[in-house]
């Protein structure tokens, strides 16, 4: 499992390779917070290679979303598989996040 960070057209893109769960959520949180402190304001988290997220992972996304918004920034999520979309619907977090079908769609909206 890893979180790879790159920058594309002024957007910090985080590729999540593996599951986002209680055992690794702090790593993602710290990476994004470091970029936020460094002045970055546009973020995209790409879940193309993620099978599942647990409640702790969802909690970190909620926390980051709030923090980014408070700092005047924007966050997009992209490439959620069917299970992840169901998870966001069950928790009603699909109403809280801006979720794009693809990376390109997310980048175009930032």
């Amino acid at each position: 499992m890893s979180f790879q960070t790159t920058k594309q057209n002024g957007v910090v893109v985080v590729d999540v390779d593996g599951q986002l769960i209680v055992g690794n959520r702090q790593e993602l949180k710290q990476k994004v917070l470091d970029e936020l402190e460094g002045g970055e304001r546009k973020f995209l988290i790409d879940f193309a290679n993620t099978g599942y997220i647990d409640s702790s992972g969802l909690g970190v996304l909620v926390s980051l979303s709030k923090k980014i918004r408070e700092m005047g920034g924007e966050l997009r999520l992209a490439n959620l598989n069917e299970d992840l979309r169901t998870l966001f619907e069950l928790t009603k977090l699909d109403t809280l996040f801006n979720i794009a079908d693809s990376r390109d769609e997310a980048l175009a909206s930032l």
């Binding site: 769960i21 909690g59 009603k92």
Partner: protein, 169 residues
Amino acid sequence: MGPAAQGPLPDDARERSGGGAASAPPATAFALELPSDLRVIEGAVGYLVERCRAFTAGGSRLTLNFRVGLCEALANAMLYGNGRDPEKRVRVEVELDTSRVEVRVVDQGKGFDPQEVPDPTAPGNLERPGGRGVFLLHKLMDQVEYRGCGNEVRMVLHWSTPLRRASGE
């Protein structure tokens, strides 16, 4: 990664099998014991999913309901049950056949009251970072029952039951 982060192996030498039609794998039961180390959860869930694959064609009941539900139960046991005390263990007992899986997760803590957890989907709670674990457990599993002083959770998931949505059953 240290030894504690390696994938778990069955510790129960009394693993038993029996019953079932000739074309179906026989029902099986086994147990794991895990340290209270959050890093072992992914490996434990992965191992149990592979064991389940012999009994189900897969689909979201396995890849979403089982994986996330089990993950929540293990995290609760380690975080809130055992208080992340490395001396305390989490026991996972599994009964598996072609119609269902039953999992009992037992920690060595004092238990907790699941009734105290507020609804995380209520508008005022949506932006709270925590409080979704028990909610997801109940949404994703067909039966969830707390036993003992609340330090044991018994969960049942049927492989063929349609996935329940937030809007209803």
